[in-house]
């Protein structure tokens, strides 16, 4: 259960609307289902009361929306940011992607968000409602008479289990208590793959990536993928493609996408959250992050505004690509 409530957030938003600090609120809007939460713009207390939700399914990272929405807003735009969202917020500022003056950021605490596919794995399909009750989620479904109680911690999203930080690195105002940067085990899975043989890894990724349907959800949700025109949509780029025509195209898209955000990805995990095929795309980004940390020293994108991303930086003593593999050949 989240420490901060929907009511507190609405109160804060209404107050900021009414005192003129902001003209609009970017928040989580009611969807068709309780777990189906949609980023929505609210302009009044009334709209908030009708449509604003805050529950264990509010994983969406709003930072990216600032690129398009902040410029259009008349006054300031209120945005609620969970700790991991603030890293994306800073990274986008570093890249001059929105006007800081147009945004009023309120940091909110986050206890981790639930993964609906994990819930469904327990409850089965046909979910009618999900309500938080203390540390549990109470799920009613069309097919079961009795509500099903699930411990929230058992259905936490992978990215929340391995949460890297409960600290907000950017905000105008903070609600609740500030947290700490955490020592997470987020690279364990990458390390596990690294320890495999090349053949095993190839088989693993072949299996994962072959499910890609090129819906572009990963790209569209990614707060680092904010290009005015994506190379994969651009007929003049030479690499335009719109369908996962074959194995090569699948790999090309995901390698290049991961490469384009390498050093800029804050590891928010949106790519994997939104993937309808449940491909662990965040592992590609984490591989780059892990490599960068190991090759060039610890670097957390978005930790500071105006930091220089590792791939647009260098030292004269950097290791050679050949040495990458010499440092303990783990993939014989």
């Amino acid at each position: 259960m989240q420490k901060i409530t929907r009511e507190q957030l609405i109160a804060k938003a209404s107050e900021l609307l009414s005192n003129g600090t902001v003209s609009q609120v970017l928040g989580w809007g009611k969807g068709e289902f309780d777990y189906d939460v949609t980023p929505t713009l609210f302009s009044s207390a009334e709209e908030l009361e009708n449509g604003f939700v805050f529950n264990d399914f509010c994983g969406a990272n709003f930072s990216k929306y600032l690129v398009s929405k902040a410029a259009k807003a008349d006054g300031k735009l209120l945005v609620f940011l969970k700790p991991c969202d603030t890293y994306s917020f800073n990274q986008l500022l570093t890249e001059h992607r929105f006007d800081r003056e147009k945004v009023y950021a309120v940091g909110i605490p986050c206890e981790g968000m639930a993964d609906i596919s994990k819930v469904k794995a327990i409850s089965g399909d046909g979910i009618a409602s999900i309500n938080a009750d203390g540390d549990n989620l109470v799920v009613t479904t069309l097919y079961e008479d009795a509500p099903i109680t699930i411990a929230t911690k058992d259905v936490l999203a992978e990215r929340c289990i391995n949460c890297k930080s409960k600290k907000h690195v950017a905000y105008d105002e903070l609600m609740g208590e500030e947290g700490e940067v955490l020592a997470s085990n987020r690279f364990d899975e990458v390390a596990r793959l690294e320890a495999m043989t090349a053949d095993e890894r190839f088989a693993f990724w072949q299996n994962e990536l072959s499910r890609c349907i090129r819906c572009n959800a990963c790209r569209d949700a990614c707060p680092a993928c904010t290009c005015e025109k994506c190379v994969f949509d651009n007929p003049n780029s030479g690499v335009e493609n719109k369908s996962p025509a074959n194995e090569f195209e699948e790999k090309l898209f995901h390698i290049i996408r991961a490469y384009h955000v390498a050093g800029r990805c804050t590891d928010c995990g949106e790519c994997s959250r939104v993937c309808p095929q449940n491909i662990p795309l965040h592992l590609l980004n984490r591989k780059f992050i892990k490599d960068i940390n190991e090759f060039y020293g610890e670097y957390q994108a978005g930790e500071e505004v105006d930091s220089r991303a590792p791939l647009v930086n260098y030292t004269t003593e950097d290791l050679e690509p050949g040495e990458v593999f010499d440092r303990g050949d783990n993939n014989a």
Binding site: K72, E95, C227, E228, K229, S237, A309
Partner: protein
């Protein structure tokens, strides 16, 4: 699609010997866009070029592919040919079927096959070529000389003589450099000061030359013809334009005991000082680490004594920005530290000195007024041992010293030895040498005179250990010709320390983006044919910053560098390279990734208004490339995630077309 003509060169048998040129020409006929294909013995000959010109006209060609030698050889030639045929010179692509095909492959079939593929790649590329026009940039008609030693002085004088303005930046309080510290010069034995100081005065009086002394280069931006340089003028706490150099302050300063750099610490100077009598500018400088007023706010004697009112304790470092068309590096050299060679006891005895210290000891303006006295007790030495090659010619695995020959030591040691024997004939002088290297006009004759006329004892061998004991220096050495170990009780030991580039050279090279060798000597653009130019356009090399040199060589190189600078400054416009980056602002995110990797600072950003599809307008930050500054490396194109940044002449689509053609 272009109308492409393909011209396959035989290069005599150089290509035709391993590549079936007819088959290549034939095969390329079928490539998209190719409307004409032929072969010829020597495409670069006048007849070959005429053939291209005629074909362009006859077949209305819009693009040319020449399958020939390396583009590094004849790309420029064929671009001129294209221009002569009325085409844009950048509509030419070269397929390198000589250096990278016929010369490295022996098999005719394989060579021919590869030549065809290389030709296809060139055709694929030229189909995507667009006419390019090089930009032009103006030339700032002023030169900057960094370093005010004899090299910098000579370069500046020559440039000024041609009518151009020159600034000299010198980090010491005076120009003059190492030569000002020398006593006599070989092989003529004329006094260094007598030939140098008139030149220093010429510099001071030349209205085309400005001297920034006690200053250093803080930042260099821009490019050939258009350098923007920030010069840091260190606070000397004396107003240069008011100080008359009378020296009253120097006399009265109570803080007298500071090591005198000009005499290499062998005597002291006050906190306020003028390095030497003929200093240019002849202006006092306050050493902030020694001045009681600056350190503790107590004293102020110099300000009281100065009738001109030149002392200014509140002076701050000053930054001056200036534009230059050319930059000459003349940062010179220093003797290396003797710390790693303490078998010679340099750190243990004052009477073990370096050759440069010996220069000061024999210089009439030096700490002993030219009387040869031992630094420890002032006695005149009766036995002097000179050791050659200290730290020169060392193998890298010896982990000390330099691998190169320092070049000047043999001659100055012969000079020292000769001068000692001349002035103090009762002194015994030994010179331990490995080889005596005297290539130069009148050099060997000079060395022979030292031996034959002046009785200097040259010993083929090396000193192994110097042990200071009592008032003697016990020198243990080998005499290889006699197969003996010598034990000499010496009074003075003089070490011919290797020389190395000044420490300021390395950071300066980084600022200038000029390359250096592993020893920190500046690299010349070509070791034989372009010896006074750096590979970085607009940067020239003068004197020992490029390698060890004696005075005559330094002066010749200084004048040569000046000639190159004059040649550059005489131009009104420079033609640039059109193969540069450009940004498609519709796709640009304004994220700064490109600017982060640009080594030239060629990319700037502006906020631009864009009309959106819904008829609203949006202001976005977009990159723009300064065509005069961009050098066309392409680093930005890969840093750009959206592909907005591309490189003319080497565009994404062009390179991909080459890849496709090769892999087809």
């Amino acid at each position: 699609m272009q109308r492409v003509g393909v011209f396959v060169c035989w290069c005599g048998s150089n290509i035709a010997g391993t590549v079936d040129v007819k088959a290549v020409a034939e095969a390329l006929k079928n490539e998209p866009g190719v409307v004409f294909s032929t072969d010829y013995q020597y495409m670069c000959s006048q007849a070959g070029q005429d053939m291209i010109i005629n074909a362009v006209k006859e077949h209305n060609l819009t693009g040319i592919v020449v399958c020939s030698c390396s583009p590094r050889m004849h790309e420029a030639t064929f671009r001129k040919t294209a221009a002569a045929a009325g085409l844009n010179p950048y509509m030419v692509e070269i397929a390198n079927i000589r250096e990278q095909c016929s010369w490295v492959h022996k098999d005719m079939a394989l060579g021919t096959e590869k030549a065809i593929i290389l030709g296809k790649a060139a055709v694929a590329k030229v189909n995507l070529n667009a006419p390019l026009t090089p930009g032009q940039s103006p030339v700032t008609k002023r030169a900057l000389v960094i370093g005010g030693g004899i090299a910098g002085i000579q370069t500046a004088l020559d440039i000024a003589d041609a009518g151009f303005e020159v600034d000299i930046v010198e980090k010491k309080p005076t120009i003059g450099g190492k030569m000002a510290q020398l006593d006599k010069t070989f092989p003529t034995l004329d006094c260094a000061a007598c030939i140098l100081t008139p030149k220093m005065v010429d510099v001071a009086q030349n209205d085309k030359i400005r001297i920034f002394s006690y200053s250093e280069v803080a930042e260099v931006k821009g490019f050939v013809g258009n350098f923007d340089v920030t010069i840091k003028k260190n606070a000397r706490y004396v107003k240069e334009d008011i100080c008359t150099g009378c020296g009253a302050c120097v006399e009265k300063c109570p803080m007298k005991k500071n090591p005198n750099e000009f005499n290499l610490g062998m005597d002291n100077r006050p906190a306020i000082y003028i390095p030497f009598a003929q200093a240019v500018p002849k202006v006092a400088t306050i050493d902030p680490n020694a001045c009681n007023m600056l350190k503790n706010g107590k004293c102020g004697v110099c300000a009281r004594i100065c009738t001109a009112g030149a002392i200014d304790y509140t002076q701050k470092d000053e930054y001056i920005e200036e534009k230059y068309g050319a930059i000459v590096v003349a940062t010179g050299f220093n003797p290396i530290s003797m710390d790693k060679f303490d078998e010679f006891a340099y750190n243990q005895s004052k009477d073990v000195i370096t050759s440069l210290e010996f220069e000061r000891l024999t210089n009439a303006a030096g700490p002993t007024a030219g009387h040869l006295e031992r630094p420890s007790d002032g006695r005149s030495p009766k036995t002097i041992v000179f050791v050659q090659c200290v730290g020169s010619r060392c193998d890298a695995c010896a982990e000390k010293g330099k691998e190169y020959c320092s070049k000047i030591c043999c001659m100055y040691t012969a000079k020292h030895a000769m001068l000692v024997r001349d002035k103090y004939p009762e002194t015994e002088v030994y010179v331990f040498y490995i080889d005596v290297r005297t290539p130069g006009k009148n050099f060997d004759e000079f060395y022979r005179r030292a031996v034959e006329e002046y009785g200097v004892k040259y010993v083929k061998g090396m000193v192994g250990k110097v042990v200071p004991e009592g008032d003697k220096l016990k020198v243990q050495a080998s005499d290889l010709l006699a197969n003996k170990q010598l034990h000499i009780d010496a009074d003075l030991v003089v070490l011919a320390a290797a020389i190395e580039p000044d420490k300021s050279a390395r950071p300066l090279a980084t600022m200038l983006t000029a390359s250096m060798d592993t020893n920190d000597f500046f690299t010349e653009a070509h070791p034989k044919l372009r010896p006074v130019e750096s590979p970085t356009a607009g940067v020239f090399l003068s004197g020992a910053c490029q390698g060890p040199k004696d005075i005559p060589e330094t002066v010749s190189q200084a004048s040569a560098a000046a000639a190159k600078v004059i040649g550059l400054l005489a131009k009104d416009k420079l033609t640039g390279n059109p193969c540069i980056a450009h940004s498609d602002e519709l796709m640009c995110n304004g994220c700064s990734s490109c600017a982060n990797v640009c080594p030239y600072g060629a990319i700037t950003y502006e906020d631009k208004e864009f009309r959106m599809p819904d008829r609203t307008t949006k202001v976005r930050r977009v990159a723009s490339v300064n065509p005069a500054v961009c050098q066309g490396c392409g680093a930005c194109t890969v840093a750009c995630p959206s592909g907005a940044m591309d490189l003319k002449g080497f565009a994404n689509l062009q390179i991909m077309a080459e890849v496709d053609a090769i892999c087809k």
